[in-house]
């Protein structure tokens, strides 16, 4: 997927004034924030489960090579083929090769953010293959030619009215805004696609080392159809998704749906192990599993390693006051919100996403709700450090910081200049006691006043003993 993270500010500004989007984003609070709170309240020992989940993920990441090799061994023993992809292009090429190998023409897809990372659909279509997204949200986006704006609810930026209009345009059926009717309509259009497909592509929420299984959670059932109906199943996922045992995965499953959508469990939990056996009624005859690196292994052993614990629940974005106000598209790549502000610069380059690690007030709510305890503000701060170390910040900002810290180290000079500043600002503010313009801080005064200083600094008053 094309990276447009450098346009963060412009896109954020557009989205702030997009009233329809703002209405759509209200769903986040009611559906996801309140939903999570209620679902977490069901668990009396939530903190213990969360600690256990973080431990499982940390253990995996510390021994990633070992668990991945075990996974490959077990999956291979059950008839699957494991492919290692270093880059997004490798994934695309491997999938296209598999399609050629098995004479595939028509492909159905269940939701996969890793495939978005690769721009897989566009590539396969360029190879003359027919690709149909079957997750309702992803299907809507495929019709609209738009990227997802959320990792769990990819179409959260659209209202049901938007979708009704889109369906009329693409399906040529009578318009309806009833959600159940819209779902039925999509199902009717998608069903022949499932039946005709030669290949199903899915993601993988987890891969399980001890059994070589790919685990997928969905709510619509399209994941199960995509992975069992066509002859060939290709699962594409990141190398960090490995979990040692089925037991471990159950710990994570107690938190993932609760954190994501406020569900105690998703409607479907599919554990796909090996190829269709001789006595099996269903299943794919050929099972390929592609494990993508694409920058993940570069995070190992660095301050950013905790990011690899991420289980892609989306709670950090649902609870992020910045994301809640600007939506996901502003972040300019596959992963929005706080997790995206760490992943995007890590994967596509610090210099290609300069705003993202800075676009946080460090309010800390993302770290509070993260089910695997990723210290997201600390990781964003680390990326800010790296920007400074690599001289990627604008000179005005660097100069201002340098002046500030130099002044703060020289108390006498600091006292004098703050005394002057306090008086001058007070003078400029006049009787209103607030400033509507402030040179160098138009970002503040564009939509806010700046309350004026009292006129004399604390140290000034304290020194002369004018204490109350």
């Amino acid at each position: 997927m094309q990276v447009t993270a450098m346009h963060f500010k412009r896109k954020a500004a557009e989205n702030l004034s997009n009233e329809k989007l703002q209405r759509a984003l209200e769903k986040l609070q009611t559906k996801f924030v309140n939903g999570r709170a209620a679902a977490i309240a069901e668990l009396p020992n939530f903190d213990q489960i969360r600690n256990a989940a973080a431990d499982v993920r940390e253990r995996v990441i510390n021994n990633l090579d070992r668990y991945l090799l075990r996974f490959e061994q077990e999956a291979t023993a059950r008839g699957a083929v494991v492919h290692w992809a270093e880059t997004a292009d490798d994934v695309n090429r491997i999938v296209a090769d598999i399609a050629v190998l098995h004479g595939v023409q028509r492909i159905v897809k269940s939701k996969s953010m890793v495939s978005e990372e690769c721009g897989l659909n566009d590539y396969l279509e360029s190879q003359g293959l027919n690709v149909l997204e079957t997750d309702l949200g992803e299907y809507i986006l495929q019709l609209a030619h738009e990227p997802p704006s959320h990792i769990v609810a990819p179409v959260v930026h659209k209202t049901k009215e938007d979708i009704a209009d889109l369906f009329v345009d693409k399906h040529h059926r009578p318009r309806t805004t009833q959600i159940a009717e819209l779902c039925r309509e999509a199902r009717e259009v998608l069903r022949p696609g499932f039946l005709a497909a030669d290949m199903g592509i899915s993601g993988g929420n987890f891969i399980i080392a001890e059994t070589g299984s790919v685990l997928i959670i969905t709510n619509e059932g399209n994941g199960r159809l995509s992975t069992t109906l066509p002859r060939v199943h290709v699962a594409v996922t990141g190398i960090e998704k490995v979990v040692p045992t089925l037991e471990d995965v159950t710990t994570l499953l107690r938190l993932l749906p609760r954190s994501a959508t406020g569900q105690s469990i998703t409607n479907y939990v599919s554990v796909l192990t090996g190829v269709k056996g001789r006595d099996d009624a269903d299943g794919a005859e050929h099972f390929h599993i592609i494990l993508l690196d694409n920058g993940r292994s570069r995070l190992l052993g660095t301050e950013l390693q905790p990011m690899l614990r991420c289980i892609r629940c989306g709670a950090c974005m649902n609870h992020c006051p910045v994301y809640q106000n600007i939506g996901g598209h502003a972040y300019g790549w596959v992963y929005p919100g706080p997790m995206g502000s760490v992943l995007t610069p890590s994967f596509v380059g610090l210099e290609n996403a300069l705003d993202l690690p800075n676009a946080s007030t460090f309010c800390g709510q993302c770290a509070v709700v993260c089910p695997v305890k990723i210290p997201l503000p600390d990781l964003m701060r680390h990326l800010r450090n790296r920007q400074v170390e690599r001289h990627l910040r604008p000179w005005q900002e660097r100069a201002a910081l340098r002046v500030w810290s130099w002044m703060a180290q020289h108390p006498a000079l600091y006292a004098l200049s703050t005394r002057v500043a306090a008086r001058l600002l007070r003078l400029f503010a006049g009787g209103k006691k607030r400033l509507s313009h402030l040179p160098g801080a138009s970002g503040w005064t564009e939509e806010r006043d700046m309350p004026a200083p009292a006129g004399r600094t604390f140290r000034d008053l304290y020194r002369v003993g004018r204490r109350a």
């Binding site: 460090f362 800390g364 770290a367 450090n385 002044m407 138009s442 939509e447 700046m450 109350a468």
Partner: protein, 245 residues
């Protein structure tokens, strides 16, 4: 006990009344208060802008200035969190300083946290009367777990009626330099806060961090609300006669 008051650079420059109110409260709690005269900034602007070297230099200055205090008290969860939570992280790679930093960090408190949990202040001198609403500032809430303490202190004022707003713990959008770098997003977050404040019908919005207060007041006034008072918790608790003219 000897308490060092870390005034904060924002209070020093913008609203000294908060510093004097904190002083008055600490004295009411029976503390011997010292105000190191050379104090400036805790280093947070540098720390959060990726300039660790500047942050460290200023942090070392703070450590030296408050050496000898039993406690450091800060009328700000943000600067308090910087010293208590982030100084140890900042000096994690300097084992020689580790012990000093850890000792200072453990003895640094946000004002209301200190008054309730260390000084165990019995009664407060304030006289505020009427409904007010309280905004939980992010660092105080999430780094220092300041939530019950200011409410417990407000409850000691018989005339105060606390009218809780929706989403009182959602960020107001200040975020230090964020408020200037991403002014439009910041202002929208402040605007959401103003809507919640207005719905309570309270005559005052109170918080424990001047950064948030400047942000909220700035947006309230621009929206045309000239009535709602914007007060620091220390000002409310210390009484308005504690406010230095």
């Amino acid at each position: 006990m000897k308490v060092g008051l870390f005034v904060t650079c924002l209070v020093d420059l913008m609203r000294p009344s908060i510093g004097f109110a904190a002083l008055r409260l600490l004295e009411a709690a029976g503390c011997e208060v010292v105000v190191p005269p050379t104090q400036t900034c805790c280093g947070q602007p540098g720390y959060n802008s990726g300039d660790r070297i500047a942050a460290k230099t200023l942090a070392k200055k703070v450590l030296k200035e408050f050496d000898g205090c039993d406690y450091i008290v800060v009328p700000s969860g943000s600067c308090g969190g910087m010293i208590r939570v982030h100084y140890p992280a900042l000096f994690a790679d300097e084992p020689a300083l580790h012990e000093t930093v850890q000792r200072v960090a453990e003895r640094t408190y946000e004002l209301t946290d200190f008054l309730v949990n260390v000084a165990k202040l019995e009664s407060v001198p304030g006289r505020y009367s009427g409904p007010l609403t309280y905004h939980d500032s992010c660092s105080g809430l999430r780094e220092l777990h300041v939530q019950a303490q200011p409410r417990a202190l407000l409850a000691k004022l018989p005339g105060v009626k606390l009218a809780e707003m929706c989403e009182s713990s959602t960020c107001c959008g200040f975020g230090g330099t964020f408020s200037v770098k991403f002014g439009d997003i910041s202002a929208r977050m402040a605007d959401n806060k103003c809507v919640h404040i207005a719905r309570t019908g309270a005559g005052a919005i109170v918080a424990g961090d001047l950064g948030c207060l400047l942000n909220i007041e700035g947006r309230l006034r621009r929206r045309g609300d000239l009535q709602t008072r914007v007060l620091h918790i220390a000002e409310v608790l210390a009484g308005e006669d504690g406010v230095c003219k």
